[in-house]
Symmetry: C2
Subunit: 346 residues, 2 copies
């Protein structure tokens, strides 16, 4: 069922049929009615590919991600993508997901752009941090990033105020008497992890005897949370209670997954939350990992990553229409939500 067929059927030109269907004003009302009726009857669906070729618009946004990062395997990233996809669905757009070999992100983006497969690109902050992807921003192609870009070239972006969130969280711990704090962070090369560390340090600076006794950057997995915590405990114990290594009385975790690992480790060594160690974790509000999953429920800094995804999609559409400036940046506040994982030391 092509446009041509409908035109022939109705004795009209292809032009008129196309215009009628696409809501152009210069079509007679009766003609339009007939066209719609015929399209309905013949179950006509415009060929998206042909339309794209003609208009130059792809009708899709792209996300490229290195294969090794196992993007889709992270519930957090996929929750973000859900938000993106939600918004796109409302506007009849598709999401093209393209995985590439490690270190070829730039190439993957170029290929998606040059081949006309997408109208815009969504970037995770990681992609912005090195030479590989630098330059993407200067390409004059609609791009919006999630996470504060580290490069000089501005890219419209949305992020949460990680510095503030972790500064507030650390302050919350300090106010409850904690002095030896630990930080289980994300990838140290990423803006959010840097900001969180800086936030914690800023809070500690205000309190004389407060110390960051553990700061471990890396991937945000259950396994690493467990290992690092186990390590800290065992090292502390081997040195002896009187030794110089100090076990934190409170742990800040950059993700609920890390917190779960830490809790498991503590339990394995006979320690309990919050009796022995308090925990505050960052919660991206993903359905699969609710902070009430643990006993006691986790006190968190909280911000919906899905909402962020949706917003990124919105911004990208704005970018394409031209009503979002290239250096636009949006920073969201993350709320501290009190639950049961922090103890007030006395």
């Amino acid at each position: 069922m092509a446009l041509k067929d409908i035109a022939r059927e109705l004795g009209l030109s292809q032009t008129t049929v196309s215009r009628a269907l696409n809501g152009y004003p210069e079509v007679g009302v009766e003609t339009r009615r007939r066209v719609f009726a015929a399209a309905e009857k013949l179950n006509y669906r415009p060929n998206a590919v042909a339309r794209r070729l003609a208009t130059g618009r792809a009708g899709a946004f792209g996300v490229v991600s290195p294969r090794s990062r196992r993007t889709l395997a992270s519930p957090i990233v996929t929750d973000f993508l859900t938000g993106v996809s939600d918004k796109l669905t409302e506007d009849g757009l598709n999401l093209v997901f393209s995985q590439v070999e490690e270190g070829r992100e730039r190439e993957g983006c170029d290929s998606l752009i040059a081949s006309g497969t997408v109208d815009g690109l969504i970037l995770f902050s990681p992609l912005l941090e090195d030479e590989r992807t630098a330059g993407l921003a200067t390409l004059n192609f609609p791009i919006v990033a999630h996470g504060r870009p580290l490069t000089g070239t501005p890219v419209p972006s949305i992020s949460i105020d990680n510095h503030n969130a972790f500064c507030v969280a650390a302050g919350y711990l300090l106010a409850r008497g904690h002095r030896r704090i630990g930080l289980l962070n994300g990838d140290e090369h990423q803006a959010y992890a840097m900001d969180r560390l800086a936030g914690v340090e800023a809070a500690l600076r205000d309190v004389e005897d407060a110390r960051l006794v553990l700061a471990s950057p890396g991937d945000m997995s259950f396994e690493r949370g467990r290992k690092v915590t186990l390590n800290a405990i065992d090292q502390h114990r081997s040195v002896g209670e009187a030794g110089r290594t100090a076990l934190p009385t409170a742990l800040l975790c950059s993700s609920i997954l890390l917190a779960l690992g830490a809790i498991a480790a503590l339990r394995e060594r006979g320690l309990e939350v919050p009796r022995d160690v308090s925990i505050i974790a960052h919660d991206d509000q993903v359905a699969a990992l609710p902070p009430i999953m643990t006993t006691p429920a986790l006190t968190t800094t909280s911000s919906s990553i899905r909402a962020a995804g949706r917003r990124v999609a919105e911004l990208l559409q704005g970018r394409i229409r031209g009503d979002v400036p290239t250096d636009y940046a949006e920073v969201w506040k993350a709320d501290l939500v009190e639950r049961g994982s922090v103890r007030h030391l006395d």
Copy 2:
């Protein structure tokens, strides 16, 4: 940079350039060399949309999913998609992910097909079970399903032997003296959930006094796992130890998430795994939810959903080439992996 430009640059016809680039044999070796050199120099990238229009091939596979199901929010589903995407990446194909409003899956599929956006469709078994999507199978469009289809029309599919897996798991419990078994299952309308229930029932049939004292179908979330377990415990206790309600001594869980919920509930009521209640869960081997996440680690039936995703993609490519018959079905065995969550009753 279009084909035309290269042709002009080289004084060749567009035909020859196209053929040279695409490896057709009828091009002089020297000519081909020149064409490649020019393409390289001008940084030429073929326009994918134009190519698609000309060839009729989209270079992408599609997945459509109802929005409400929050497909991307489930780490299990996304792990599956990772597998799919892995395979596609190797072959330079894209994955188009399209969410639709609840109940309009069929429409979403039709639209992806009719608009020429995809060359093939991947279905989750849920999509196959009702009239909405029935008929998709008869469309003569390449489709491969994950999960045994419930409809009459055959569709190439891959699934695990859920009946056997849960039969074996239940048998394992029976052999260790358990007689009151509970099953926290997935959506009852789905083939896999039905098969699992049937598998458990088959195992119980062999042992005189064995009973399925709890069988709860529904979504496979932490929350539901917790609620159902809490309910079972409280109901049992209110009736009194001597009452007729019997608390299961062992729980079979259709997902690790359910098991986590159950464990949390047990702990809240002062019960412990495996001292008071034993657990076997199904493990899809997703990185975010390792069975060693709990203490003690979970005994599981185990099968990689990511590998399944990859295999589905392979089958779909085979389907397109025509070397996978339309009624092909592949069933994988799920292994029982012993860890620490089952107690031998004496």
